[in-house]
Every structure is written in C-alpha cells, then in structure tokens.
C-alpha cells in the first residue's frame, strides 16, 4: 500500500538561550497509509507536539521532508487539517462561523459552506448549536467544533495535537468513541498526539512511541483489535497487556523527563 503521509529523516533544532542549536527531533521517518489512524505517545518534552507542528507546517523543520501522496509539502496547506489541543475557537464567531473559517479563508461562499458546516455539526453531534458562541459551550462541545472546523476543509490528513487533554475523564472517553465513529464515516488519515497510553491504544491502528531528547521513534506497535471498538475494550486483559507493554517502553523516559535539569 502506498503511503498517504510520508516523513523522511525529519530533524528539528531549537536555539538555546546561549544561541547553541539543540536537536529536538532526530531524523524521524515514518509512513502512514491511507485511512490509517496513527497515535504518537511519549513523555512530556519528547518533541511529539513539535513533530506534529512541523508536519502541519506551523514550525519549519531544518532537515528532512514531508510528502503527502508523494508530493512534497512546505508550510501549512489545505491538505492537512489541524485540531488543536487548547481552546482555539475564535470567541467572536458563532459555532457555525468557526466551522466555516477554513473555507471562508479560501474564498468559499456562505451558500456553499453553510450547508456543509451544518452537516458537519450534525456529524459531531452539535445540531442546534450553530448560532451559539464558544463561551456558551462546554469543553467537550468546543473540541467537537474544533474537529468539525478541521474536517470542513476536507483535508487528506487530520493532525490532532492532544485534542482531549483538557477534558475531564468521562468526557474524554465519550469523545474518543465519538472520534472513532466520525473517523469510520469520514475515512481520514489521522495522526494523533497524546500522552495517554490507553487513549492511543484504543484509537490507533498503530502506536508510535517517542523517546526523549532528542525525539526519536523508539517503537512502532500494531494494535490488532477489530473495529468498531467499544469503550469496554479498555477493560479487557488483551488491551491492558498492550497498554502495559507501551508503558514499559516509555517508563524510563517519563522518569528521566521528571529529573531533567531546566534549560
């Protein structure tokens, strides 16, 4: 199968306060197949967010390249839809106007974008909230809008940067199930960043474990569970075994990341 998203030898450096370059991503290569759901887990500070930002074109990568359908991509583009971790809705726009934002920027007229946005709001379970402002919604509902906004531009690849990190545990579980349902309908290639191992194992076809300083792909673990997956899967022994396996892989990294000197 040909790769939808192809990353080869991607490296990224930051300048320290003294002006010294420091490698934060070390020649990362990975292929993601069409419609594949890939999660990246790693200790905080392992560069996983920097990695997805580099894929999204939000920060430049100094070495390596990113290809989508074999085509080299530089900078942000409509072939990638970004779902942000933090509350990134425009507070002065209604839910509907937030969802059409990406289309509006490309010059799509409301006559075309509004029906599409309405159908996406239905898909994410927010029918009837089109005219609400973001501050009238709960955190979970806001992230649904965030997802709908990314889907609206119909990207080839969905980049999700810890989208459920700020939600409470119950809402997060529901959102995970909803996301899989939406993914099953929309068939997108997804790259999903998280620090929660069970989230990664529940969602993904494949979990990539990042090691820290500099970030590197330490392991590539296939998740064999059939779909659709019920939330109860998370309590099955097979699932817990995989979670435990991944945890063992990153345990030392997490412990190390807690003891690192600042700077």
């Amino acid at each position: 199968m040909t790769a939808k998203l192809q990353v080869s030898n991607l490296s990224k450096y930051f300048l320290t306060r003294d002006g010294e370059p420091r490698k934060v991503l070390d020649s990362i290569s990975l292929d993601i197949a069409t419609n594949e759901f890939v999660c990246i887990v790693g200790a905080s500070g392992c560069g996983k967010t920097t990695f997805i930002r580099a894929i999204g074109g939000l920060v430049p990568a100094e070495e390596g390249e990113v290809r989508i359908d074999g085509k080299l991509v530089e900078g942000p583009g409509g072939d990638r839809g970004f779902v942000f971790q933090h509350d990134s809705l425009l507070p002065w726009r209604t839910v509907l106007d937030n969802v059409v934002f990406g289309l509006e920027v490309r010059g799509v007229k409301p006559a075309a974008s509004h029906p599409l946005a309405e159908s996406l709001l239905k898909l994410v379970g927010l029918t009837g909230f089109a005219q609400h402002y973001p501050n009238e919604l709960s955190g979970g509902m806001r992230q649904r809008v965030n997802l709908a906004r990314a889907l609206a531009i119909d990207p080839d690849v969905l980049l999700m940067d810890e989208p459920f990190a700020a939600l409470d545990a119950q809402t997060r579980e529901i959102m995970q199930r909803e996301l899989l349902k939406i993914w099953a309908q929309k068939r997108k290639t997804v790259l999903f960043i998280t620090h929660q191992i069970d989230e990664a194992a529940y969602l993904a076809d494949r979990v990539l474990v990042f090691s820290s300083r500099p970030g590197r792909v330490a392991a590539d673990i296939a998740i064999p569970f059939p779909r659709p997956r019920a939330l109860s899967l998370k309590r099955s022994p097979e699932f817990l075994k995989i979670v435990d396996e991944i945890w063992t892989l990153i345990e030392q990294e997490v412990v190390a990341s807690m003891q690192v000197e600042p700077g």
């Binding site: 900078g75 970004f82 531009i153």
Partner: protein, 288 residues
C-alpha cells in the same frame, strides 16, 4: 447555585403549579430581581441628589452668586432654549467635538494598528507617544489659538491632540494582546497577512478599541471646554465663561450640566455600540 437555579426556573414557568420546597431551602432573589433592586437604588440616589441640590439652593445658600438651585437652572435653560441661544451654543460645541473626536478616532486607531503590526513604526513612534501621552496637552491651547485663530480649527486641534493618545494606545494594546493560539489557527488554515489582520487581529482588538474611544470621549469633552474657555465667540464653554464674568451662576451650572449630560449620553451610545459590535462579550455576561 441550586437555589438560584430553582428560583430561575420558577420565574420562567409562572403558570406551573409551585412545587413544595424542601424545608430549609429558601428562594433568594432572582438575577432579574437583583438587577431591579440595583436600578431602584440608583434612581433613588439620583432623585435624592437632585432634591438636595434644590434644597441647598432654596434654603441653605440663598446668595444667587454662590449657588443656584436646580429649578432656577432649568428655568434659565428653558429661556435660552426658547430664544434659540442654547441650540446655537450646543451646535457649535457639538461640531467642535464631532470633528475633533472623529479625527482622533481615525488617526488613533490607524496609528495604533500600524504601530502594533510594524516593528519599525513602533520603534520610531514609541518615544513620542509616551511623551505626549503623559504631557498636559491642554497647555498647547494658546499655541493653537496663535496658529488656527479663535474659530473652529483651534478647538478641533485641541480636542484632537488630547483625545488621540488614549485611543492610539488602546488600539495598539488590543492588537498586541491577541491570543497567540488564534494566530496559530490562522496560520494552520493558511490565512494571508490581510486575513490575519481582518479576521483575527481586528476582532481581538475591538474591545480594547472601545475602551480607548470611551477614554477619548471624556478627554475630547474636556478639550471642547478648555478650547472654549480660552477664547471663543460661541459654544457651551463660551456660555459658561460669559455667564461667570457676569456673575450668572445659574447659567454656569446649566453649561456644566449640559457637558455632563453629553458625556453620559455618549458613553451610553458607546455601550450600545459595543453590544452591537461585540455580541459574544454580552453572551459571556448572560451565561455565567
């Protein structure tokens, strides 16, 4: 929380049969009732203040040069309104205010936005803005009189220079305080520079711009008064000066009252404008 919510539900479903409350649970006032209580206090306070004004003028300070009761001020106002004097003076002041304030709003917002988006412009203008913002610019009035003469132009100039800086600074801060997360969203969706400005920066700056305009209104009114007190042939400030020189305290009070009411009216207008332009901020107040 639950108590307030209960009270709210009951206020809405007035025709529903009241359900018996558990013992120990009492209705507090609803938000609507609380708002009405606050408004009622404010109305009483104003009425009390006006009564005190009238009482002081009628019985405590009866010398008409030292004080003037409300009724006499209103009578003078009525007389001037009838003979057309009042409208003439107010028209002159309103024109000076409108021109000067409009100019300061346009220039202030434009320069503030420019400074916030161009590092070079900021570096060049910053020392001057800091300097003029903190100097007592009313002192420039004699200078404006020399250049622009006694008429409209000198008043517009003084209104402009003292109102423009708070407007400029707030517009600048508004752009600068735009949430970096939202700028990242704009980047991810491939916005052009122009789109970033109109779709992210301008709406983010709007509440700050309104605050700047509010400060600007206060200062612009001061500008009108100062301009007319220095030298003029018409205007409410001229009315006050002329009345003061002829020991006509009632007319002095009338002039001050007009300026105050104008200020209040303009502030209310701006509040209305903010609600129209920034409805998402109103919905914050409504939802919490």
């Amino acid at each position: 929380m639950s108590e307030a919510a209960l009270g709210h539900d009951k206020a809405r479903g007035a025709d529903a049969a009241p359900s018996p409350l558990p013992a120990g649970l009492r209705h507090g006032p609803t938000p609507a009732q609380l708002a009405w209580i606050s408004r009622r206090r404010a109305i009483y306070s104003v009425i009390g203040g006006l009564a005190l004004w009238e009482f002081t003028g009628q019985f405590l300070v009866t010398n008409p040069i030292l004080f003037s009761p409300l009724s006499k001020v209103l009578a003078v106002g009525w007389k001037l309104l009838m003979n057309g004097e009042l409208m003439r003076h107010m028209g002159v002041s309103a024109l000076e205010f409108s021109l000067g304030f409009a100019l300061s709003a346009v220039v202030g917002i434009a320069l503030g936005f420019l400074m916030a988006t161009s590092r070079r412009t900021q570096d060049i203008l910053d020392p001057w803005v800091s300097f003029f913002y903190s100097s007592p610019l009313v002192a420039l009035m004699p200078f404006f009189l020399l250049i622009f003469g006694i008429g409209l132009a000198s008043k517009v100039a003084i209104v402009f220079v003292i109102a423009v800086f708070p407007i400029l600074l707030n517009a600048f801060v508004g752009i600068r305080s735009a949430d970096p997360h939202l700028l990242e969203v704009a980047k991810a969706f491939n916005c052009s520079r122009g789109q970033i400005f109109t779709k992210i920066l301008m709406p983010a700056a709007l509440p700050f711009v309104i605050v700047g305009l509010r400060l600007g209104i206060g200062r612009a009114l001061t500008g009108v008064v100062v301009g007319e007190l220095f030298a003029s042939r018409a205007g409410v400030g001229y009315l006050i000066t002329a009345a003061g020189l002829s020991f006509d305290t009632a007319t002095v009070f009338l002039g001050v009252l007009i300026f105050s009411l104008m200020g209040v009216l303009l502030m209310e207008g701006l509040k209305y404008l903010e609600q129209r332009l920034a409805p998402w901020r109103k919905s914050v107040q409504e939802t919490h």
